[in-house]
Amino acid sequence: MINAAINDTAIYHNGRTYAEHCAWLDSLVGDEYRIVYMPIGHLNSLATVSHLKFMLANLRMTAGERLKTLEVIDMCVHGSVTDEAVAAIEPCCETGRKMFQELNSLPIEKQTQAFHDGDVFRLLAKLNPSLLSALRLCQFNEIVPEQPRHRALEILQ
């Protein structure tokens, strides 16, 4: 990876050279920036909340099951994921449920990785835009840029 960073032509990440990767990161704004910079575990948590809310809304449960489901949702409030973000998430749709069914059939170590490799969150967010609304309510350490970053201009300033 370090060699690929030194070499201008070697692939650094996801089919991009190091320079291309840096340029891509600088071009990220808004929701794309949030998706890329949010840890994949938190993305998984947000998506899971939408699935759990679907289950709450569509399945008949005992009081104990309902309590446990709500406690799992409450446990997703952690780190960058705020209470407001969890509250903003709407239940997923039937297609989303099927996606979660596929996701849950994977080994546990691959379920979170799916959010990294397969851009599952983007697909789920297309079906359920409230996930993006929730992502906007999450805490980020840096200010989310609204304009692409131009490093050359920053040096001149």
């Binding site: 909340v49 809310k53 709450l56 809304a57 569509n58 399945l59 008949r60 449960m61 005992t62 009081a63 104990g64 309902r66 309590l67 446990k68 709500l70 406690e71 949702i73 409450d74 409030v77 209470d83 969890v86 509250a87 903003a88 998430i89």
Partner: protein, 193 residues
């Protein structure tokens, strides 16, 4: 050295050592050994433990047990030995004898272990000490398991209050959720009353 001289201890060819008669020591065989059809079968099992291990050991055991005859060819003896050693009854008897050998060797093993721990220069001195300590004062591992099988998650007032609290925090409208299985919904008239 002349060619007529023989090496000391070497048996003359053509003469087999005969089985010495067993002394009556009133040793009891196990059930698998007793279940064998003849004494020759039992002798075969015992001979398997006395002949030198290696190629031809089973044939030698069969010969020592008295199977075959003077004119039996090597191929015949090999067939007899193979059939004997793959007989289920013989296999059961071998398993039984294995256990006996291991159990009867325990006293020698303990003796060797005690000599080992007395010799601080031995390579496995510490290992021997650890083996004995493990068996006399084993390290106890206490695993505390909590299995909650109490019906604590029944629809009590506390549980329902907690559900309402968590649902409010998660932005879930309880009125839009399907009724719970273990809760009888209260009609509006009853609620007013």
């Amino acid at each position: 050295m002349t060619s007529t001289m023989t090496k000391p201890g070497k048996r003359p060819k053509g003469k087999r050592r005969e089985l010495a008669p067993l002394e009556p020591v009133d040793a009891q065989d196990g059930p698998a050994m007793k279940a064998l059809p003849t004494d020759r079968h039992r002798a075969f099992v015992r001979a398997l433990y006395t002949v030198r291990p290696g190629f031809g050991a089973r044939v030698k055991a069969a010969k020592l047990a008295g199977f075959g005859c003077q004119h039996s060819t090597a191929q015949t003896m090999a067939t007899i030995a193979s059939r004997l050693s793959h007989d289920e009854r013989i296999l059961a008897a071998i398993a039984e004898e294995d256990q006996k050998f291991i159990r009867s060797s325990a006293s020698r093993a303990i003796g060797a272990l005690s000599r080992l721990i007395e010799n601080p220069n031995a390579k496995d001195h510490v290992r021997g000490i650890a083996m004995i300590l493990d068996r006399t004062m084993p390290v106890e591992t206490i695993v505390k398991m909590q299995h909650d099988a109490t019906p604590a998650l029944r629809a009590t007032a506390e549980v329902l209050a907690r559900i309402a609290d968590l649902a409010a925090r998660a932005g879930v409208d309880l009125s839009k959720l399907p009724p719970m299985i273990d809760v009888t919904p209260v009609s509006k008239s009853e609620r007013v009353a």
